[in-house]
């Protein structure tokens, strides 16, 4: 019997530092199908002010939620802070290989909830990148900025300090480090 790999744990501080610092995200596996998680996450990250560049060879050259879609990472004409992998786990290694050929190198590889590839992660970490696996950036952002509490989700955040008031209704932001 195959033994399940150790569950992954990431500190809130690590996730926060990533979500606070990255600006440009390449999302490999972005889709125009509004029923798919990849669409929901793309839409949410755009709403939260990230610059998200969709990557999907099937839709290259089209626009998706106003963003130009590229066939592969190498085609993106600007530096990328983070590559978000929205593909099955086996595909992650090839994507990490492509990411490691970029110049400048991205700082973060983020594999979506249910996506995990330890070999790909080891390669990226060896090259000095930070790797997050099996997490959803929409859920993590919503959890850490407080929005997800409106859906009754256990955010595991305990504090007696008020969050920053949103500039628009119901659009919370993760706070700057204090």
């Amino acid at each position: 019997m195959e033994t399940a790999p150790e569950p992954l744990t990431y500190s809130d501080d690590l996730i926060l530092s990533i979500l606070r610092s990255v600006k440009t995200i390449a999302m490999v596996g972005a889709t125009p199908n509004p029923a798919r998680p990849a669409y929901l996450v793309l839409k949410y990250l755009l709403l939260q002010g990230f610059h998200v560049i969709p990557v999907n060879p099937g839709h290259a050259g089209k626009t998706l939620l106003g963003q130009t879609v590229y066939a592969k990472l190498a085609d993106i004409p600007e530096p990328i802070d983070m590559v978000e992998i929205f593909r099955r786990s086996e595909a992650a290694e090839g994507i990490v290989d492509e990411a490691l050929k970029l110049y400048p190198l991205p700082r973060v590889i983020w594999m979506q909830l249910s996506v995990r590839n330890d070999a790909a992660a080891a390669k990226a970490e060896a090259a000095g990148l930070t790797v997050i696996m099996d997490r959803c950036p929409k859920i993590e952002y919503g959890r850490l900025c407080g929005e997800i509490a409106w859906f009754g989700v256990n955010s595991r955040q305990i504090s007696s300090r008020p969050r920053q008031a949103p500039a628009q209704f119901q659009r919370m932001r993760i706070q700057a480090k204090d």
């Binding site: 500190s11 809130d12 501080d13 199908n33 509004p34 029923a35 798919r36 998680p37 669409y39 929901l40 839409k43 949410y44 709403l47 909830l113 249910s114 959803c136 859920i139 919503g142 407080g146 929005e147 997800i148 509490a149 409106w150 859906f151 009754g152 989700v153 256990n154 955010s155 595991r156 955040q157 305990i158 504090s159 007696s160 300090r161 008020p162 969050r163 920053q164 008031a165 949103p166 628009q168 209704f169 119901q170 659009r171 919370m172």
Partner: protein
């Protein structure tokens, strides 16, 4: 709080879910007494309806006040998310609605609150959801009731009114083998006394009307998602594993990870069936929840003292309280609720049904009413009230025979509680 500290139960009871209001600094959670929330623009509106953004739309589906009690209950139970609904019964309805289709079966312990027995036997049958009864004193009976149509198993951690303590771990093993979620109604124990998720439960329900609110002023229910059940493992739970036409083909089980069940209950169950809790009730229940650990300890300590006293009373034929060393459920109680066995106890009054009716008429401090889990001490004769719509056999199976009197021992001075029982028993 610093990340390397796991907050304790009392800290969570006060703080989980509740930070000061970001726009006013209000420290207590505000009552958002509004039906609806304005959108920033059409795109924001579309994102909210499409579940692409988190936010409030309409109080039938969510409310920031209720969100606080939802998060708090999830934190206290050790679950991933909560959903507040209008009552404990609504929690049961919304939960089973997410799991069952017409013709399906679920297995329930015979030792349940009488209202739940009615709900399962009659209302749910008319939806084509068929209950199969089992006996918590015979775990094999759960195993025998499993069929290919079984979709869930339902038990109470401590059963109302009999006080039977369920061997949650043993029933969870049956559920696991059957590939179905174990639902535990944790109303009587509360997470202060018992943590069903630690013993293999998948979903925890509450009538918050009782100890969570704790002051007898608001009806409310809660569904807590344990986050461990794999809804995508088969096609048995189409609400979670199949593309939903209500959301353009979205598959909730893959979109919302380990809190998908709570989301399904909210966006399919609560949204469409409609049993929403009022923000005002959520506020009152929230206020109550802050003192849950103090109250539950006092309820349990008082109930134990009352049980010990009644056990030596000449007009009392038997006492059933799992906190008493000689009780048949004492060993289980030590495992599942070591801090105390809760507020409820039952006893037999000499003289049967007539004496029971006399007793509830003679009390002075106890209130004669159908609720439990109030600060006040409460008394009822289930045979002639809560359980009167069941058959004689069902009443006996549920621990509600003719001589049975149920107490929900309050948090008054225990000497006054005992004195009131003594004077009333003298009149039977």
């Amino acid at each position: 709080m610093s990340e390397d500290r796991e907050p304790g139960f009392a800290t969570l009871a006060i703080h989980a879910g509740a930070q000061p209001d970001p726009t006013t600094g209000a420290r207590a959670t505000p009552i958002y007494q509004t039906t609806s929330y304005v959108f920033n623009d059409a795109d924001h509106a579309a994102s909210l309806f499409g579940l692409q953004a988190f936010g409030n739309i309409y109080t039938r589906i969510m409310s920031p006040t209720s969100g606080v009690i939802e998060e708090r209950m999830a934190a206290l139970e050790g679950g991933t998310a909560g959903l507040a609904v209008a009552s404990g019964h609504a929690a049961q309805l919304v939960t089973l609605h997410a799991l069952m289709t017409p013709g399906d079966e679920f297995i329930a312990a015979g030792q349940l609150y009488g209202g739940s027995i009615n709900q399962f036997n009659h209302s749910f049958k008319s939806f084509g959801w068929n209950v199969k009864w089992a006996d918590i004193d015979d775990v094999e009976s759960f195993e025998r009731a499993v069929s290919p149509k079984t979709k869930a198993i339902f038990v109470e951690s401590i059963a109302n009114p009999g006080g039977a303590v369920t061997d949650i771990e043993a029933v969870a093993a049956v559920a696991k083998r059957a590939g179905v979620p174990l639902i535990v109604d944790n109303t009587l124990a509360t997470p202060y006394l018992c943590k069903p998720f630690d013993f293999g439960a998948d979903i925890v329900l509450h009538s918050m009307t009782k100890f969570i609110g704790g002051h007898g002023n608001s009806i409310g229910g809660m569904i807590v998602d344990g986050g461990k059940f794999n809804w995508m493992a088969s096609d048995r739970y189409p609400m979670l594993s199949q593309p939903r036409p209500e959301y353009n083909g979205m598959v909730l089980g893959e979109t919302f990870g380990n809190f998908a069940f709570a989301i399904a209950c909210r966006v399919l169950g609560l949204r469409d069936l409609g049993p929403a809790i009022s923000p005002f009730n959520s506020f009152l229940i929230l206020t109550g929840s802050e003192t849950l650990p103090l109250r539950m300890q006092k309820h349990s300590d008082n109930a134990k003292a009352v049980a010990e006293h009644l056990a030596g009373h000449p007009k009392v034929t038997w006492v059933s309280y799992a906190g008493l060393p000689g009780d048949r459920y004492h060993t289980r109680a030590q495992k599942y609720c070591p801090k105390g066995a809760g507020a409820l106890l039952t006893f037999g009054v000499e003289g049967g049904a007539d004496a029971g009716v006399k007793l509830v008429s003679a009390v002075d401090l106890f209130s004669h009413l159908a609720n439990i889990g109030d600060t006040r001490s409460l008394i009822i004769h289930p045979w002639s009230t809560t359980h009167s719509q069941l058959t004689e056999d069902q009443r006996k199976a549920a621990g509600a025979g003719p001589d049975v009197v149920r107490l929900s021992v309050g948090i008054e001075d225990v000497a006054d509680i005992i004195a009131d029982l003594d004077q009333a028993l003298a009149k039977t």
